[in-house]
Symmetry: C2
Subunit: 408 residues, 2 copies
Amino acid sequence: MSEQSIDFKVHAREGEARAGLITTGRGAIETPVFMPVGTAGTVKGIRWEELESPELDARIILGNTYHLWLRPGIETIRACGGLHKFIGWKRAMLTDSGGFQVWSLGALRKITEEGTEFRSHIDGAKCFLSPEISMEVQTALGAEIVMVFDECAPGEASQEEARRSMELTLRWAKRSREAFDQLQEYGTARRCERVNDVRSAGLEGDPLATASGSATRQALFGIVQGAAHLDLRRESLQRTVEVGFDGYAIGGLSVGEERPMMLDVIEEIAPRMPADKPRYLMGVGTPEDLIEAVARGVDMFDCVLPTRNGRNGQAFTSQGRLNIKNARYVNDQRPLDEACECSVCRRHSRAFIRHLYQSGEMLASILLTHHNLAFFLDTMRRVRQAIRSGQFAKFRRECTEQLSSGLG
Amino acid sequence: MSEQSIDFKVHAREGEARAGLITTGRGAIETPVFMPVGTAGTVKGIRWEELESPELDARIILGNTYHLWLRPGIETIRACGGLHKFIGWKRAMLTDSGGFQVWSLGALRKITEEGTEFRSHIDGAKCFLSPEISMEVQTALGAEIVMVFDECAPGEASQEEARRSMELTLRWAKRSREAFDQLQEYGTARRCERVNDVRSAGLEGDPLATASGSATRQALFGIVQGAAHLDLRRESLQRTVEVGFDGYAIGGLSVGEERPMMLDVIEEIAPRMPADKPRYLMGVGTPEDLIEAVARGVDMFDCVLPTRNGRNGQAFTSQGRLNIKNARYVNDQRPLDEACECSVCRRHSRAFIRHLYQSGEMLASILLTHHNLAFFLDTMRRVRQAIRSGQFAKFRRECTEQLSSGLG
């Protein structure tokens, strides 16, 4: 296929850590990058205008095949011109395959060779998702980066269980690849129309969105599984690379395993992943986790922590986490994080945000979400700067120390 | 008292309708003005940055004595330097007295000559609010405009019941006036400190907040009651004016009475209210109501409709109301209001907002609230322009016709 999907270049290294640039049809993404999670077509509690603002400047967000497929459904998203147009987000997107979400349904799903049968969490309707269906849905959604349909194994899975799951994921990876390639061939003409649509719809006000816009095909990423078994993980990586993808992800972490085990897997796998392709660690993690994974060679991250914990009253700060429900903040006029320069910290006190939270006011979630995303995105900005200036080892040491210092 | 509170000038008239300017220690307010309701220290679902943006440009918001007194409590607000500083809002505010809220508690409250005994809606604790306590609380809150502590009578109240209520409100108005004046004398020195605080805290980025800032005292508004009895309403107005206030409000409307009755009361009372003071219609209403009340001489409004109905899935548009839950919008790519230029209508479709609402996503409330406030505030902007250019009669006719035309 002659069309290009995404392009990736590494510009600086320090140890295993690397800083680079992913170029997509919807703007450039500096790596290491954190992707806010937009499960159902919205990053919960924040408007696109905020995510695009120089303060946050999120270059890519995550959408979810499982959720969007069930509601509003692909017919609506197609009728509205694809996911970007439907939700009004003009920058890059990555869609997860739905594999992890249906796996998470537990007793509500049944996994066969063909795919996964499950009950919708919305109305209990019987549904079926397979590599082919996931690829069809993700092609209709139209994100710049598509994920293969995989199966996850729990962190404590036995060797046998983990191998069975890994082999299935590999067979599904090949089926995903084939279905995806066919759909991309078929969809080229349609995509050209779509790009013209996007152009004529006017993207004024967002230089990223007008910076490019060629009729690129979507990119497809493979996913490495194997639970906590390092030999299986290495085998999974090798055989996934043999199938061949535009980028590679580490899946099946942050699913209940201990942190040292997670870091072991990352340390074993990330440096072995193809150096010329983006490396994506799925669903991880805390600011500390992000820094440790970058140190082991990871380029991309997504995680619900800043948004979900924000809605639950937790702020991530340079000195660790702060629970706004705590009575000690009742008259505390300091910002959430005294070292933070986000619009929430410049304007609002812990006392006010605590009052909003205790009163059940939506603004509590809005402000905590904004600050947490600002903190995660700014941390990644500092990580990139540190790598480019050869100061990452120092940054990692100081930042980690500070994160565990506790709030005054 | 030689200090000045607010200043009010009428600049243009057409029939009873008038366009003017209220000058406060925290910026100028063009009238007729709509005040978004910020009950518990937040206008639900929107950040101050949005309310201050040129698109919305709210010059004054409403805060609520009852709610803020119960939570977070006056000690916290005092410790944080007053309501403006506590919530981070730098423009003008008006605080309601709590009279209406405790009256609304129904069976949970008992009204005596001294004041109102009630159970907190938060924890059931026994509380007592009186004219003196309300004034003390409102002085601590520090809004530019303070309301007297009144009692409301239901729309269908008999002559006898309404008179009893009106006489009590008049006695409470005098007690409010006296308590307020004492507190203002006492507080002058403290207020001077506060103004210096505000100055040194830096108000950069908001020209309104730096435009003024002299050590003005607060303004106190009286409230006309009398239910639907026009003779009682006239008597209430006359005797309230005899006590003497910086502005006058019409209370006890929008409490279940028929719309024609409401308009009759406004038509009877508004033109008789002192011409050199702001006239404030409390708790009203729809865009149609606002236009009709302006035509009868009202200058100020507050209402929860744009925010509350927004959270419930209703959009106010130039062609009437739109219920986003309606299945007809499932694939509708038009904005909420095709004639609206707010940031929500420029970017998002009915289909997307419907999807968000159906999915229980917070962003549905955020976007509907923003649009509705933009619509209310823009309608008032157009009302002011129409009066100033002598086109209000035409505007009123055309706008009212359009509002009832129904959505295509």
